[in-house]
Symmetry: C2
Subunit: 419 residues, 2 copies
């Protein structure tokens, strides 16, 4: 008999140890794109940012409901990572560095306070509820980092990324990602049973922030001549491809040096933003982002396992952690007392934890430091903070507060165009 | 000590059985994009189509020279497959079905003759040179299918895809891909030791061609209303995303039914070509194609192992097979005697075997039917046919012959616009 199962044809060329055929992966992509689009549109009909719909699509498609999307699939993980890299790259492309730096002090203050408060209060709450030292530290650490991806997408969906509040939240979220990775390194040491040295921590900190500064300063010198040359010799698609190469390379460099890939991608965007080719690059990259970015948010949603919220004790621990996670970041929004801006918007903007909180929880679980119960409690914290911030922000930004905010934005915008 | 190897962070989220980290894969993509662009530009400076440069980049980066790109890496294979799917999808989007059908008889004749002649002569040459029955059959089969990807890219690079010759070659290459897959199924049975039944072969043939016809006929009814609806309600990027979903779904369907993913993707393009949204879709998809398509050609190049051409005997067998591979397809170009077109261009256009020939050779090697020597001989055939056609075509198309050709194109164009 003739075997009709010809998809085997492809596996002849590339035996696939990751267990997913090209056909299966195309189906996965098609499903993710359609559901992200449908639920994203639906969210907008209900006045919510599209990203909420994409996250819900992920939860529904994920292992705990329909079970079609497995977020640990290597190829999907790769597409999701490229998605968040493209997102931060386009955000960087749209960011005016002068403007970002003009609120740099405020952003830094929000970031530091927004790491210290949730970490300390998360640790005490967890410890008070009966967790040992190490699990309590990991739980506290999981509350530290705001999700840059979700925060940037929400402000961007609402057209408020360039407001003072949007810039402070963006800057603070990038900074607390860098801090979060330093904490992760320290916690990894503790989990592994070694004692982190103060010198080591300081070195990591210096390297992580030094990278961002060096990439931006050097990039501003070296990158424009290269892209001017490309613009004279090549086609428009060459510009977009080579901009992508720069984003990928800085992402890898950032990661190798102990920072996060998204920090590198954001730096690449910042470096290209003032070039003459920025608009042409953005036109090219936006199309790619349209394909890849929803995959990231669906993957984040799919990593949430709603089946674990069965136990009352777990839910109570989870809600306690959620409360301090919200209050800590909200308070951080009011930390830069000298800045004239809507502090409530800043505080709420810092709340979503998204994928970064999941990474901490997953690490604790894999290392055997967290019980399945504590892991579920942290997941509840991620779920609530991620889903509550977008609708709250939308409400805040559509109310009277936006008048003040827009005036403020305008003033800053005038300041920077004059400079 | 503090561990700076933070890339481990990502592997916490997704343990990676395929053995490639996100960072490593981003580096791979960056390298592929830069070298494809540089060598593509260089090829154009020397008056060659850009695709030649991309293939050379693949050979150089592949295991036999620099060894940086491993074409069997699952994630890379996936990107390459999406690349060729996007290529055939955009080719389909640019194809006028009426025009393609107006040369349908000629294309079908070229395809059938271009499969029979190389298969028969390849078998006899291989058998005469001492190969057993089964290895000789596999060798003959490896000569049958023209690479649609390379052929379409070359005609497109030269701006001649819409000429009569371009349309005949495109149609014939798609048809002989379908035939090639049927032969592959038969050969797989032989290799596995089972005798293929005539009924089974006929059924596979009917299904494979029936799919193409059904997809196009049904698609022309069902697809325009959907995209009209999307155009009224959504943004332009929704159109491109949903067009991509259609391409992915038809690709999977084609593969499941015993045809090739690229046939499905081409059908999706054909179906969308006459819609009002075709241009908006193409604008969106072209950007994606710019990223993915070079990855496909670099992967094809990287699959060629130039180290295997050490033995004189292997090279002689290889050259004998190459000779009949070239002559068989070239003769096929002259088979549709009734058509007024540049037969030399058609014949040369059908010569490149590319990835399809490699698939046959790889299957024979994996199944133990081909020796490493015969495999290398087939690889030489693929290498020579792939690299000789583009420069030859460029020469043919830039000479006096193009006058006749353009006139012909014009006549057909007028015919179809009047219809």
């Amino acid at each position: 008999m003739l075997d009709l199962g010809l998809p085997a044809l492809l596996s002849v060329v590339a035996p696939d140890p990751s267990g997913v055929s090209v056909e299966r992966f195309l189906l996965l992509l098609a499903t993710i794109l359609v559901s992200a689009k449908v639920l994203g549109e639906l969210a907008e009909r209900f006045g919510q940012p599209a990203v909420i719909g994409e996250l819900v699509a992920g939860v529904l498609l994920g292992p705990s409901v329909i079970g079609f999307v497995d977020p640990t699939l290597p190829a999907l993980h790769l597409f999701a990572e490229i998605g968040v890299i493209l997102l931060l790259f386009t955000i960087g492309l749209e960011t005016d560095l002068k403007r970002l730096l003009s609120v740099g002090g405020a952003a830094f203050t929000v970031a530091v306070v927004g790491v210290v408060l949730p970490f300390a209060s998360g640790y005490f709450v967890a410890h008070a509820l009966g967790l040992d030292l190490l699990p309590a530290i990991v739980s506290g650490a999981a509350l530290t980092a705001t999700s840059v991806g979700i925060t940037a997408r929400v402000f961007s969906d609402l057209g408020k990324l360039k407001s003072v509040e949007g810039q402070i939240v963006l800057g603070a979220a990038v900074i607390d990602d860098v801090i979060g990775l330093i904490i992760l390194a320290v916690v990894s040491d503790l989990v592994a049973g070694t004692t982190p040295s103060v010198g080591g921590v300081l070195r990591t900190t210096a390297i992580a922030f030094g990278f961002l500064a060096a990439a931006i300063v050097l990039g501003r010198f070296l990158v424009p001549p290269v892209f001017n040359f490309l613009a004279r010799t090549g086609k428009e698609n060459t510009l977009a491809s080579m901009a992508l190469v720069l984003a990928f390379l800085l992402a890898v460099l950032a990661s190798e040096i102990g920072s996060a890939v998204i920090v590198g991608a954001f730096a690449a965007g910042l470096v290209l933003a003032p070039t003459e080719q920025a608009h042409a690059i953005e036109r090219g990259v936006i199309r790619l982002a349209n394909l890849f970015v929803p995959i990231f948010f669906v993957a984040v949603g799919a990593a949430v396992d709603v089946r674990t919220f069965g136990s009352r004790d777990i839910v109570l621990v989870g809600l306690a952690l959620t409360a301090v996670a919200i209050l800590g970041k909200f308070a951080a929004g009011f930390a830069p007392i000298w800045i004239r801006a809507n502090k409530t918007v800043i505080g709420v903007g810092m709340i979503p934890r998204g994928e970064v909180g999941l990474i901490f929880a997953q690490m604790g679980l894999t290392a055997g430091v967290l019980t399945a119960g504590t892991y579920s409690a942290l997941m509840l914290m991620v779920l609530v903070t991620t889903f509550m911030a977008p609708p709250l922000l939308r409400q805040l930004l559509s109310k009277s507060s936006t008048a003040e905010l827009d005036q403020e934005s305008l003033a800053v915008a005038e300041m920077t165009t004059e400079a």
